[in-house]
């Protein structure tokens, strides 16, 4: 059994990696790199400064991992030292450095070009697709520790772990010399124990949410920041101040200002804010989970009752519903449902009207997402139940003298549920893809809405990160389905045990 579980976990991870590697390949090879600037306001302002325009573009490409880029000035600085007078000499017209730059970089396979106004040289080289993919994985998991940060201006920094208390007075493991101050801490948020020892990194968002790590965009709070009063010891003295910073996110900050030294004893002064609204991930998770539970519970109940009352009115209504839902385009029935919800029930048909703090905002998006799931769960369980009703073991159970309902609940039900358990991953995946539509329709600030908009923004890092997350959820759901099935179906658990041997 454990052998089987490990094998499945390995397979799951492998398939996540394959899918995301494919996505990275596709994103980098199919989307023309010119398009990434589509939403960049700054670049448009540089339109009549050709040299700066070129430099900005190449630097951005370098940042996004497309190319290696070196300007003549950078190379001079690297050759003679940062502040050497030879640097400006090297840029003068007629200097030998031009020839050196050209020959050095051409030898390394770079393309050398000339800036239109100043005439300075610059060299660039495409990073091969394959190493772009490898780099993405190499940076995926960041390890933090006391030897992480090396600041030339702070050479004598203490290095090592220590126990401290956070602003709420809860004990935590902190570290000096690491990127993050708090390494392990506790709070009231699931899963209650958190760590910075290993962190995920999927690159930096661009051009939307420019400069913010994509995972902070997806998993960080949204809306207005929340300020609160904090009383803590600074420099040995009890100090009270207002801040919206989440102390657990504090990172090493090389240059401190007065505001920082008023609040912090050390160099860990760079933190994220606490926000009013949950993250995209959080909002999507709430809506997705609720809708999944609703589809399963209502869909299965309705389908089972329909099977028991086969060919009677309830069954006919149920079948009518599933036919309508599966034949109409989802956008159409969602639109009709939203209208009904707004006019008849007075619910908001756009999420931001009442915002994430109000339960009413969630009702229509959740139910809309569940409409399809209810239909397909009801259809399938009914079909399986009716199938089972004609099985030989059901005939035999009836001939034993069991009543209709005993046969139903003790014999048919579990048999019919097996294929349903098998289809739970499908339901999860259906919910994910349904979320793309409902979240856009109701303007829900979730991952589902983020996905199409990151595609239209050409936000490559975001597209890759979201694909990775969606794939991981789907693969995890398939894995979970397989494990669940071994609990309901004795035949499968034994096979698995045999396999494991």
């Amino acid at each position: 059994m454990t052998g089987y579980v490990f094998k499945r976990i390995f397979q799951s991870i492998l398939s996540i990696f394959i899918v995301s590697a494919l996505t990275i390949f596709l994103v980098y090879s199919c989307i023309p790199r010119q398009l990434v600037f589509k939403g960049d306001q700054l670049l448009q302002k540089l339109a009549n400064q050709p040299d700066e325009y070129q430099d900005y573009k190449y630097r951005t490409w370098e940042k996004l991992g497309y190319i290696d880029y070196v300007s003549q000035k950078e190379y001079a600085q690297a050759t003679y030292g940062q502040d050497s007078p030879k640097v400006s000499e090297a840029l003068l017209e007629g200097s030998d450095f031009y020839g050196k730059f050209r020959s050095d970089f051409q030898a390394k396979g770079y393309k050398v070009e000339i800036q239109p106004v100043t005439g300075f040289l610059y060299a660039s080289k495409d990073i091969p697709l394959f190493s772009r993919v490898l780099k993405w994985y190499a940076n995926l998991i960041q390890v933090d520790g006391p030897n992480k940060v090396h600041d030339p201006d702070n050479p004598n920094m203490k290095r090592g772990y220590y126990i401290t208390r956070d602003w709420s007075g809860v004990p935590a493991l902190a570290c000096s010399g690491s990127l993050y101050k708090y390494q392990i801490w506790f709070d009231g948020k699931f899963p209650f124990i958190h760590s910075h020892i290993l962190t995920w990194n999927m690159g930096v968002s661009y051009p939307s949410y420019d400069g913010i790590p994509v995972l902070d965009v997806i998993a960080g709070g949204q809306g207005r920041s929340v300020r609160r009063e904090i009383t803590t010891k600074v420099g040995g003295e009890e100090t009270t101040f207002y801040t919206s910073v989440d102390e657990h996110s504090l990172k090493y900050k090389p240059v401190l200002d007065r505001m920082d030294t008023n609040k912090y004893d050390d160099h860990y002064a760079d933190g994220n804010n606490i926000y009013e609204d949950p993250s995209m991930l959080g909002i999507s998770f709430r809506i997705g989970m609720m809708s999944l539970l609703i589809s399963l519970s209502i869909g299965l109940t309705v389908g089972i009752v329909a099977a028991m009352k086969k060919d009677r009115t309830f069954d006919k209504i149920t079948m009518g519903y599933t036919v309508i839902i599966s034949s109409l385009p989802s956008l159409l029935y969602i639109a009709l449902f939203a209208r009904f919800g707004m006019k008849a029930l007075g619910l908001p048909d756009k999420f931001p009207f009442l915002g994430s703090g109000n339960m009413a905002s969630y009702v229509l998006p959740t139910l809309s997402l569940a409409l399809g799931g209810i239909a397909s769960e009801a259809l399938w369980i009914r079909r399986y139940m009716v199938d089972q009703m004609n099985a030989d073991y059901v005939k035999f159970a009836r001939s034993k003298g069991l009543s209709q309902s005993e046969v139903f609940f003790k014999h048919i039900m579990r048999n019919a549920l097996i294929p349903v358990v098998h289809s739970i991953p499908e339901a999860v995946i259906g919910t994910l893809s349904g979320a793309l539509i409902t979240e856009s329709f109701y303007a829900v600030p979730g991952m589902g809405k983020m996905f199409p908009s990151s595609i239209s923004d050409y936000n490559n890092a975001m597209i890759i990160a979201l694909t990775f997350i969606f794939t991981a959820i789907s693969v995890f759901a398939v894995f979970l389905g397989d494990i669940l099935v071994t609990f309901v179906d004795p035949r499968i658990s034994l096979q698995a045990k045999k396999e494991a041997r």
């Binding site: 001939s399 069991l402 209709q404």
Partner: protein
Amino acid sequence: MTEEKKPILTVRDLVVKFRVRNKELTAIRSVSLNLYEGETLAIVGESGSGKSVLTKTFTGMLENNGRIAAGSIEFEGRELTGIKTDKEWEGIRGSQIATVFQDPMTSLNPLKKIGFQITEILEKHQKMAFAQAKPVAIELMTRVGIKDAERRFNDYPFQYSGGMRQRIVIAIALACKPKILICDEPTTALDVTIQAQILDLIRALQKDYGFTTIYITHDLGVVANVADRVAVMYAGQILEYGTVREIFYDPRHPYTWALISSLPTLAKKGEPLYAIPGTPPTLFNEIKGDAFAPRNRYALNIDFEEEPPFFQISPTHFAKTWLLDEKAPKADPPVAVKIMLEKGKIHQGATEVAK
């Protein structure tokens, strides 16, 4: 001899019809039958002749599109055709009349432990608690030949072989000590050696428990080993019935002759096995005369015109064929039947000597 026995189940002029897409087919066409306490009655006939449908009416297990159009079924003085609700049937099924179906591979719920499938009905019909039912179930399992029953109580059907599953099915059927056990082709799906074991088991159990058995088969060969009496069915009717001896050694209906001719044990080496020519009539139309007439090379003109009555051959032996009428010409039965007739005489001699 059989006359003195008390019938436990009496069927009179039973007609069963099925509705199939706005048409009606008649699966059982006026069948009458006595089942005597403690005997084993075999019902033989080609598949589709109505054997299963006939016995399904004894437990109210006809599919929803079927109905009893006429006739009566009396079980221990109780009229079964009047039962309307499943609730009433629950008191008969399993506890009074139990059924063993053809395919042991699919007769058990694949997801429930063997033990549960036995104790379940003890709990239901005998109002036992699980703790009481468990030892009873284990004893039943041992009785039907499951070794190490205690341990195997918690196994699932897929951990059992086909033969063992059929033993469990029999154990379940007998758990509540029913008065009648209907075995609907219980060994058809099993291989030959296991077939024989299951037949032995049923016979031994019958001796212990004293139930009455209806044994359905399309294989006349099996019948000789299990039955006291035989009823031969064709197209929803019984054509001939009598003791095993009478049916084997003194058959009278040309259809019974045909069945005997197709017995593999009587086939000569190298000759193809005899197969009855033609196909059974469609049950959607009314059948005129003797249903077997179109496939019967001994058919008389009257066989196509008028349905024959039952002619009595002995107090226990009846056949429904015009060949037994005084005015009918003498028919020359097929070779196989003659061999059987000869054997019958030798047997008779032997038993007489033995006396």
